[in-house]
Symmetry: C2
């Protein structure tokens, strides 16, 4: 029985994808859960910005995260804190000071997001071309 390297790679990938999808029926799918919580604009942008700047304060983060409203920053930060991706440290001072930072878990997600970002940059032009071709062909 002969199997080429390409075929083996493909089978290996297939297996991985199957594993990701399989729990779907049983109620909770890890990737589904992942998507709901982290695969949205603000969560990703906040994680990327925190990863870039390290520890930072509420308003600094708001400044850097272009377009986010105060409400959405608060909501997003709370959700990420709840999931253990960021830490929140409150200093008992006046005026108050609060510092946010990625946890170890958050940093590991940052690595994955970086890959996504790189994919996006790398294929941006290709996607643009595809869109134009699509619109011409109708």
């Amino acid at each position: 029985m002969e199997v080429t390297i390409a075929e083996r790679q493909h089978l290996n990938k297939r297996k991985k994808i199957g594993k990701i999808l399989e729990e779907k029926g049983s109620g909770i799918c890890p990737i589904h859960d992942f998507l709901i919580h982290f695969a949205n604009k603000w969560s990703m942008l906040v994680i990327l910005n925190l990863g870039f700047s390290g520890k930072s304060r509420f308003n600094a983060l708001k400044q850097r995260t272009t377009g986010i409203s105060q409400r959405m920053l608060t909501v997003t930060l709370r959700a990420l804190e709840e999931d253990g991706l960021i830490s929140r440290k409150v200093f008992a001072e006046i005026p108050p000071r609060v510092e946010y930072e990625l946890t170890t878990l958050g940093k590991s997600l940052l690595d994955v997001m970086t890959l996504m970002g790189e994919w996006a940059s790398r294929h941006e032009a290709e996607i643009q071309r595809a869109r134009k071709a699509f619109h011409k062909g109708r």
Copy 2:
């Protein structure tokens, strides 16, 4: 001047993130665009399912993508086709037959998604624990 390996790695990461975020100001941010188009439940699920099953027909895909409505499957498929991630082949038969398949571009995104899925599986328990801890502490 001494720089540890860890420091160098960190600086390298920071640079990459900066690159992803930088175009933000200038109007179009690749990652933002990416998020809008692909970082949603249905797009990701459809890509994963197409990656798993290879070429497949509309209703077959609908069956496998648990919970998706006919409308959302159509909408999602069109969007992915527009972006050049999947191909759509119509056969002039009665009853009609349409086959969807990931393009090369789509397959490259699949790899990134697989990584996300693996991250989600690997850290699922940790996230659950963090959530419980968060709710106890209030």
